[in-house]
C-alpha cells in the first residue's frame, strides 16, 4: 500500500515499506534543501491547493514551501479566515476550488474524516491530509519518524536512507498527554509501531481514548518511570482552548502530574530525544527551559516538515496515474 500515485489520508494500517518509501524519498529532498538553490521542478505545471479550514501556521507554510520547491503552482485558501464558516457544505467548497483545475489538495479540517470525504468528492484529485479533526495527521507522523531516524543515523554514523527501519528496532517511544483528542498521537503511534518501535503512552485517565483495544501501545502506570525508560519522548499539545481543560482539574495539576518539568529532566536518559509537534504551551506540557534544552528537537521537526512534505507531494503526484 504505497502512497505512490495515491492519496495520503491516514497512517493507520500503512506498511513499513510504504513509510520507508516516504522517509527515503524525503532524505533526497533533505539534500536539496541544503543547497543554495532549493528548487527541483518535478511538479512544474501542477496545481496544488492548500485548503486550511482550521487555523495553522507551520503546517500550512511547510506544505506550501514544499509544493513551491517542487515547482508546483500553489493555490492557497486559508478558509478559517475566509467567508467559509462552519455549516457550509464541504462538497460545495471543494467543487468551487476544483473548478480551478487541481492536481492535488492539501486539506486541514476540524472534522475527523474530512480528507476521506473530500477524496470521494474529487476522485481525480490527489488528497493529502494535513490534519483532520482528532483522527490523523499523517505528515506529522512521517516527519517525526524521519527526524528520529535522522538523529539516530547521525549518532550511529550510518546513512539514514540505507538504514531502513533498523534504527527503530527496540526503540522505546513514550507519547505523553492528550492522546484522546490528538491526531498527532494517532499518526505517530501508527508510524513508530509500523517501523518496529515499542510505544508507550502516558496520560491522565480522562485523556486516554475510551478504548485502546487494538492500539499497538501499552499504558504507563508511572509517568516518571516511563520517562526513564524512553529513548524518545513525544509531548502533545494540551488543547485547552477546545475545552479539553475540563478533562483535568487544572492546567497546573496536569503540569505537576504529566508535564515535562525541569525537575523531571534528570530522569531522562542523557541522549533521550524530546519532541513536540507545536505549537507548545510553554509551562503546561513542557517547561520553557526544557523546550530549549539540547535534547529538544522541536525546531528540527519543523525544518524536516519541508522535505517530508516534498516527498509526500512528489510520490502522490509525480507518479499519478492518468484517469
Amino acid at each position: 500500500m504505497s502512497i505512490r500515485g495515491a492519496n495520503l489520508l491516514t497512517l493507520d494500517g500503512m506498511s513499513r515499506e510504504a513509510i520507508l518509501d516516504v522517509l527515503d524519498t524525503a532524505e533526497s529532498f533533505f539534500e536539496v534543501n541544503q543547497r543554495t538553490i532549493k528548487k527541483v521542478p518535478v511538479l512544474k505545471g501542477r496545481v496544488v491547493a492548500s485548503l486550511f479550514f482550521e487555523e495553522s501556521t507551520r503546517t500550512r507554510l511547510s506544505f506550501e514551501t514544499a509544493a513551491k520547491r517542487l515547482g508546483a503552482d500553489v493555490v492557497s485558501l486559508a478558509v478559517a479566515s475566509s467567508s467559509v464558516k462552519k455549516g457550509e457544505s464541504l462538497r460545495d467548497t471543494i467543487s468551487t476550488i476544483d473548478a480551478l483545475g487541481l492536481d492535488a489538495v492539501v486539506l486541514r479540517h476540524r472534522s475527523s474524516g474530512a480528507a476521506l470525504q473530500v477524496s470521494r468528492y474529487v476522485p481525480h484529485v490527489r488528497v493529502v491530509n494535513a490534519g483532520d479533526g482528532q483522527h490523523q495527521h499523517p505528515t506529522q507522523g512521517l516527519l517525526d519518524a524521519f527526524t528520529v531516524r535522522q538523529i539516530l543515523a547521525e549518532r550511529h554514523g550510518v546513512v539514514a536512507s540505507v538504514s531502513g527501519s533498523s534504527l527503530f528496532e527496540g526503540l522505546r517511544v513514550l507519547i505523553v498527554g492528550d492522546i484522546r483528542h490528538s491526531r498527532v498521537a494517532r499518526s505517530d503511534i501508527a508510524a513508530y509501531s509500523a517501523l518496529g518501535a515499542e510505544v508507550k503512552v502516558a496520560a491522565p485517565g480522562t485523556l486516554l481514548p475510551p478504548s485502546l483495544e487494538g492500539w499497538p501501545v501499552t499504558v504507563s502506570s508511572d509517568f516518571e518511570e516511563a520517562l526513564a525508560w524512553a529513548d524518545v519522548v513525544g509531548l502533545l499539545r494540551l488543547q485547552h482552548e477546545r475545552g479539553t481543560g475540563s478533562y483535568v482539574p487544572s492546567l497546573s495539576e496536569f503540569t505537576s502530574t504529566f508535564g515535562l518539568t525541569a525537575t523531571r529532566v534528570p530522569l531522562l536518559k542523557p541522549d533521550a530525544i524530546v519532541m513536540h509537534p507545536g505549537p507548545m504551551n510553554r509551562g503546561v506540557e513542557i517547561d520553557s527551559d526544557v523546550a530549549d534544552l539540547p535534547q529538544s528537537v522541536i525546531t528540527r521537526q519543523v525544518a524536516n516538515g519541508v522535505p517530508v512534505r516534498m516527498a509526500v507531494l512528489y510520490l502522490s503526484l509525480a507518479e499519478k496515474k492518468e484517469l
Binding site: 474524516g113 474530512a114 478504548s211
Partner: protein
C-alpha cells in the same frame, strides 16, 4: 372502487391461509376461495403475502419548518410506497407539535393525503424538557402517543410528572433514550472504533441509563412508556425483564439498528450518522435475533429526512438520521427470513396497538389499522412479494430527501400494492 385481491397468502396474527379478498366501499366484504371479480379491479397476489398494511409509529415528516427535506404530502407518498396505510408524525418539527393549532394543522394536512396521518404530541413545551405540553387537549384531537423525540426528557422529575399526568388519560409516552450529558455531543457509538477514527463517542450507557431510569419511573407511577429505537442488547434485556415484571412498557427497533453496524462509520459518510448511533456487530446481531422472539413490539423506521446540503457536511457537523419508509419492509423481510406472521406483527399489528389505531381503539377521524383480514374490517391492506429482488436507489425515492444508507444495496421483498381505506394507492409497485 371494488377490488379483488386474488391468489395471495393471507397472513393472520398466528397463521397463514390461502384466500381471495373482496373490498367494497373501503371495507373488506368477502374473504374466501375463488371470489367473484365482477365490477372489480383485480390484484394478482400470487406468490405474495396479504396482510394489514403497515403502520409506522416513528416518522419525521418535517412539516412545519423543514419542508425542503420532507412534507406531509411527500412523506405520505413514500409511506404508501413502503406499504404503510398509517404513520405517526413525530413532533420535533419547527416549531414543535406542542399545541392544538399546530397538531390540528398536521392532522388537516394529513387528511389530504392518501394515508392516515396520526400525530405524536410533544411531552413538554417546545420539547425543552421543562413544563408539560397540553396533553389532555391534544388527546381530545386523537393524539395517543407523546414524545420529545430527537432527545429524551432529560429531567427525571419532569418525566415522572408526565407519566403521572398521562396515565389516567390512557396515553403512552414514547422516549428517545439517551442521557445527553453523558452522550456529550458524541457522533457515533463510543468504543474501539470511535477511538480509532477520532470521532467523539456516544456511549451505550447513555441510552441504557435512561432505559433503566424510565423503567423505574414506570414502576413508581404505573405509567406507560414506549421505548423508541432501542439499539443495544442490554437495553432490550432491561425492557424484556420489565415486561416480565408486568410493567406496561413496549419497545421498537429501527431497521438500521438490526441491518447496519458501526463499521459503516469507517467511511465517515454522514449517511450513517444517526441517534442512537449504529452499534457494534454484537448488538446488531442481538437485535436481529430478537425480531422473531416477540421481545420487540414493532419495527419503526425513524424515517428522518435531511436535505443533501446538510448531509454533505463533515461527519461531526451533519445532522443525525436516515430515511426508512421505502426500504423497511424489504429489510425486515430479509432479517426475518420466511416468517410472514412475525413480519406483519412487527410492521403492522404491534405498532397499531402501540399507536392505538386498531378497530377496538378510540380513534378520532382515522380508520382502523393493524387488524385481521376478515369481513367488516377497514380495508387497509398490503400485498407484499417476499421474494422479489431489487436494489436500493436514492434517486428512485418518493421522499423529497435522498439520505438513504441503502443506496446500491440489494433488497429482497417488495410492496406490490398498498390499499388504504379501500383505495388502491400503490398498484404493481407503482403509485396510482
Amino acid at each position: 372502487m371494488n377490488l379483488v385481491i386474488r391468489g395471495g397468502t393471507i397472513v393472520g396474527p398466528d397463521t397463514v391461509f390461502r384466500a381471495d379478498i373482496r373490498i367494497e366501499s373501503g371495507v373488506i366484504v368477502a374473504v374466501g376461495e375463488a371470489l367473484s371479480t365482477a365490477n372489480a379491479t383485480i390484484i394478482d397476489a400470487s406468490g405474495c403475502w396479504v396482510g394489514p398494511a403497515f403502520v409506522d409509529i416513528h416518522t419525521h415528516l418535517r412539516e412545519p419548518g423543514r419542508e425542503a427535506a420532507e412534507t406531509i404530502a411527500s412523506g405520505a407518498l413514500a409511506a404508501a410506497m413502503g406499504g404503510f396505510s398509517a404513520v405517526v408524525a413525530m413532533p420535533n418539527t419547527e416549531p414543535a407539535l406542542d399545541n392544538v393549532p399546530l397538531v390540528s394543522y398536521v392532522l388537516a394536512q394529513g387528511a389530504k393525503t392518501a394515508i392516515d396521518v396520526a400525530v405524536a404530541g410533544a411531552i413538554t413545551l417546545g420539547r425543552k424538557g421543562e413544563s408539560l405540553a397540553p396533553l389532555a387537549e391534544l388527546a381530545a384531537l386523537g393524539v395517543r402517543l407523546f414524545t420529545d423525540d430527537g432527545t429524551g426528557v432529560q429531567n427525571p422529575l419532569v418525566m415522572r410528572r408526565a407519566l403521572e399526568y398521562a396515565a389516567p388519560l390512557g396515553l403512552r409516552l414514547a422516549q428517545h433514550c439517551e442521557d445527553e450529558q453523558l452522550a456529550n455531543g458524541g457522533v457515533m457509538n463510543e468504543g474501539v472504533l470511535s477511538a480509532q477514527l477520532g470521532l467523539a463517542g456516544r456511549s451505550a450507557v447513555a441510552e441504557e441509563l435512561m432505559v433503566q431510569r424510565d423503567i423505574a419511573l414506570v414502576r413508581l407511577t404505573g405509567g406507560r412508556v414506549h421505548f423508541l429505537h432501542l439499539s443495544t442488547a442490554t437495553s432490550l434485556a432491561m425492557v424484556t425483564a420489565a415486561r416480565l415484571e408486568g410493567l406496561d412498557v413496549t419497545c421498537e427497533v429501527a431497521p438500521h439498528h438490526f441491518v447496519l453496524s458501526e463499521e459503516a462509520c469507517r467511511t465517515f459518510d454522514p449517511q450513517f450518522k444517526v441517534h442512537p448511533p449504529l452499534r457494534p456487530e454484537a448488538d446488531r446481531a442481538a437485535l436481529h435475533a430478537a425480531l422473531s422472539t416477540g421481545a420487540i413490539d414493532a419495527v419503526a423506521t425513524d424515517h428522518a429526512p435531511h436535505t443533501p446540503e446538510l448531509k454533505d457536511l463533515a461527519f461531526d457537523e451533519a445532522p443525525a438520521g436516515m430515511l426508512g419508509l421505502e426500504h423497511v419492509a424489504a429489510l425486515t423481510n430479509e432479517a426475518l427470513g420466511a416468517n410472514p406472521v412475525a413480519f406483519f406483527n412487527l410492521l403492522s399489528r404491534g405498532p397499531a396497538r402501540i399507536a392505538q389505531l386498531r378497530a377496538s381503539d378510540a380513534r378520532v377521524g382515522l380508520s382502523a389499522h393493524g387488524g385481521v383480514i376478515m369481513v367488516g374490517e377497514d380495508a387497509n391492506v398490503v400485498v407484499f412479494d417476499p421474494s422479489q429482488t431489487w436494489v436500493g436507489d436514492r434517486n428512485a425515492l418518493h421522499s423529497k430527501a435522498t439520505n438513504t444508507p441503502y443506496h446500491g444495496r440489494p433488497l429482497v421483498g417488495r410492496v406490490r400494492s398498498t390499499i388504504v381505506k379501500g383505495r388502491l394507492v400503490v398498484h404493481e409497485g407503482v403509485l396510482q
